[in-house]
């Protein structure tokens, strides 16, 4: 399964641990929403959401 992790703010230790456990045996992608700026970044986000089987958005 392909998982997309969207980080709304910088991931803390617990988020990093959960992400690492969830990624075991899966293909993972990430998108840092807190660093997104221009339209191209958001086009990329949409492309990644459709590429992923599941999107998880972290605090």
């Amino acid at each position: 399964m392909k998982i997309l992790h969207v980080y709304r703010s910088e991931p803390n230790e617990e988020v990093q641990k959960l992400v690492s456990l969830l990624n075991e045996g899966n293909e993972a992608m990430e998108f840092k929403l807190y660093e997104a700026k221009d339209d191209a970044d958001y086009d990329k986000l949409i492309q990644m959401i459709w590429e992923a089987d599941k999107t998880i958005s972290w605090w």
Binding site: V6, A36, Y42, L45, I46, I49, W50, T55, S57
Partner: protein
Amino acid sequence: MAKDPDKLGIFVTNPQYMPQLMKIVEAAQRAGKKVKIFFTFKAVHLTKQPDFPKLVQMIPEADLAICADSYTCEGFDVETDIPGGMTPKQMRTQAYHGEILDECGKYLVL
């Protein structure tokens, strides 16, 4: 109802991402995708942002709603203060979140 593979459900729980939400909706529409959005709890404050009426215009009536209970809990009036451009039909319950999960092939939380 079968899930629509070209529809992104957005569950907005957070009162601080209006510019990001606008850009996500614009990007989805540029890519030929549809969106369905539900605002809950503190995120209903986004209805007071200057861009909110523009967002309402970008999305069909059935695909945008706010949690009426959250709106009341935050001190607003669900009858006399319906946010910019919305209709009373768009003042909904948490069941709308269930509709998003049923209908949308893709899902994002803000």
